[in-house]
């Protein structure tokens, strides 16, 4: 019941996002052919606008778009003659997703460990070192970190390929560059959450039971400390999975990150809408997964629709 209701809410959300994006997109000046207006004769432009239904009134365009969207057709790309938006996403998403999943795994595993270790050594050297690392990780932009990684690991030491896409080795450096900031954020979140939990009375109870320190930390500490951290993981996952412009650009990765940016410059309306809807869908799905994992981690949370 909850899941069905949730599913419809998700559809409504996507519709709202589509509508808002449509309105905002058409309120920026210019259209896909604005840059060609000087060189092409008026008749050609006219024909091209007609081909993409841009000569219709906006409400008609909107309804046409929705009609196609219902059939999961995100429309043609104006910029690319041969590929429609569905193909663009289908071609680019696997690379972005692989990169994103690897970064997410790295960020979560090392971020959580770092946060836990720092909290357990509260105000000790390890705590200061890991938090210094976390602050550096958050502060250094990925467009600085990525070239540095390339310089040392690829150019100087030759451990990994410099750029482009192909073998798994190609994915290592971009994944690291992409993971660093989220890793640092996860570490800081986990540390403060863990510090709070380790001061709770039930940790004292666990101590009074004679459990080993490791047992207390893992069974009673980490699980409770994870609860606030989980809420952060949903948006993070969506962000990482859908690719990032900067990292994909630097490493010349054929992901979908670049379409988010390029499509806006080109006023490539179907691509703007398509990538936005795609991103929203991924975000909404990960948020849904986060809610479900809340239920698993924290038994006090019940997934019920309002009024049940």
């Amino acid at each position: 019941m909850y899941i069905i209701k949730r599913f419809f809410t998700m559809l409504v959300t996507i519709w709202v996002i589509t509508t808002l994006t449509f309105i905002i997109m058409h309120s920026i000046p210019g259209d896909p052919f604005a840059s060609d207006a000087d060189v092409l004769p008026e008749e050609v432009l006219e024909n091209m606008r007609a081909k993409y239904n841009l000569d219709e009134p906006l409400p008609v365009q909107y309804l046409l778009y929705l009609k196609n969207l219902v059939m999961l057709d995100l429309g043609p790309s104006i910029q690319s003659e041969t590929r429609d938006v569905n193909t663009l996403i289908a071609d680019g998403f696997p690379a972005s997703a692989l990169l994103g999943i690897q970064s997410l795994v790295i960020a979560l595993i090392f971020g959580l460990i770092l946060g836990i270790v720092a909290a357990l050594n509260h105000n000790g050297i390890i705590d200061y070192l890991s938090m210094a690392f976390a602050i550096i990780g958050i502060s250094i932009p990925s467009f600085i970190l990525a070239p540095l990684l390339i310089k040392y690991f690829a150019v100087d030491w030759g451990l990994f390929p410099v750029a482009s896409w192909g073998t798994w080795l190609h994915t290592v450096l971009p994944s690291l560059a992409l993971a660093t900031a989220p890793l640092a954020i996860v570490a800081r979140f986990m540390r403060s959450s863990m510090l709070e939990v380790m001061n709770q009375n039930y940790i004292k109870t666990a101590d009074a039971k004679g459990l080993s320190t490791t047992g207390i930390v893992i069974k009673h500490g980490v699980r409770n400390a994870l609860i606030p951290v989980i809420s952060f993981i949903g948006p993070l996952a969506a962000f990482l999975l859908t690719g990032t412009f900067v990292i994909e650009k630097i490493f010349a990765i054929p992901g979908i990150g670049k379409y988010f940016v390029d499509s806006i410059f080109n006023r490539d309306f179907p691509v703007i809408l398509g990538t936005t809807i795609f991103f929203s869908t991924i975000l909404i799905i990960t948020l849904f997964l986060v809610d479900i994992s809340y239920r698993i981690v924290d038994p006090r949370i019940k997934l019920t629709s309002k009024g049940d």
Partner: protein, 338 residues
């Protein structure tokens, strides 16, 4: 009766930004096998700190045990290596903590939280542990123990949670149960039930209980002996009869005067103890109660009185019990008797 626990000259301090807080300043007491000892005193007098030092539960970073010894079953347990202490905690000494609402892990089934202790300290076969836990839950008077096993703390009331904590404390048949204000967080009817339960369990399991409380009603209900604590020291200690009938310390008098008595008329107001306890950043050199004591003499602020025994079990630390002091005791008892 043999000695189960003996605490001698225990001193515990806390490091804070403001300086060192001397929370426990030379506490002595003992507990015999099968006995119930109540440690009474107002908030902040060091009762809980004493209990937590015995179990080695104080946060290592901010607290320091500055001296003294804690002997349990004839063995020194203060400063015992972590591993050895872990073997004692939960198996030989059980703790019932102050706040049942926050003392259970919110994300773990209560049955599992009890099973954990049994698994750690006994060789009971895995499939038998659950049976034992359900037996324990029934022992502490929880209805439908089979269902309770797989419930989470938020599904239980405060009194039920306290019963779960009691089941946890007794799960490995401990020689000693330390109950740190076990009824403070509960409402009065539940308080009485929990105290009855503790008394019954103490008899049926033949264990000893050190119960920490600020409630003299609780003391009268369950304890055989009482230690009255004030500002980090035990100021008077004796059997329940000695403390209630024949108290030797003005602080104990004050405590007794501030409990309502059944049948007292409207005109018999309770007599509160004026003032507040001393600052433990810089505890007074003399008797810590001198500043609030109606009978304080010059010597009281200058020097801490020694223990003065009046019987095998009864002693107090007060200059009034010195043979040179004026006799005020009868006056007070007479005034109180009305």
């Amino acid at each position: 009766m043999s000695r189960l626990l003996e605490v001698e000259d225990l001193q515990v301090s806390f490091k804070t930004y403001g300086g060192e807080v001397k929370a426990v300043r030379g506490v002595d007491f003992y507990l015999n096998q099968g006995e119930v000892l109540a440690v009474v005193g107002e908030s902040g007098c060091g009762k809980s700190v004493t209990a937590q030092s015995i179990m080695g539960l104080l946060p290592k970073k901010v607290s320091r045990i500055k001296g003294g010894s804690v002997t349990f079953e004839g063995e020194e347990i203060l400063g015992l290596p972590k591993k050895q202490m872990q073997a004692i905690k939960g198996s030989k000494i059980g703790l019932i903590s102050q706040d049942p609402m926050t003392s259970l892990n919110p994300t773990m089934m209560v049955g599992k939280q009890i099973a954990e202790v049994i698994k750690k300290h006994t060789d009971i076969a895995k499939n038998q542990i659950k049976v034992r836990v359900i037996e324990l839950l029934a022992m502490v008077g929880l209805p439908n123990p089979e269902q309770r096993y797989s419930q989470y703390p938020h599904e239980l009331s405060g009194g039920m949670r306290q019963r779960v904590l009691i089941a946890m404390a007794i799960s490995c048949d401990p020689q000693l149960i330390i109950a740190d204000e076990p009824t403070t967080a509960l409402d009065v009817t539940i308080q009485a039930q929990i105290l009855d339960l503790l008394k019954d369990l103490q008899k049926s399991l033949d264990t000893s209980i050190m119960i920490i409380t600020h409630d003299l009603g609780v003391v009268a209900e369950v304890a055989q002996r009482v230690a009255v604590m004030y500002a980090g020291v035990i100021v008077e200690s004796g059997t329940v009869e000695e403390i209630f009938e024949n108290p030797d310390h003005p602080y104990t008098w004050g405590l007794l005067n501030s409990i309502p008595k059944y049948g007292s008329g409207e005109k018999d107001r309770l007599i509160p103890i004026q003032g507040s306890p001393p600052d433990l950043f810089a505890p007074p050199t003399g008797c810590p109660f001198a500043a609030r004591c109606e009978y304080a003499m010059e010597i009281c602020v200058q020097e801490m009185p020694d223990k003065k025994r009046t019987s095998e079990t009864h002693h107090a630390r007060c200059w009034l019990n010195d043979p040179r002091a004026p006799l005020v005791k009868d006056l007070i008892s007479a005034g109180r008797a009305e």
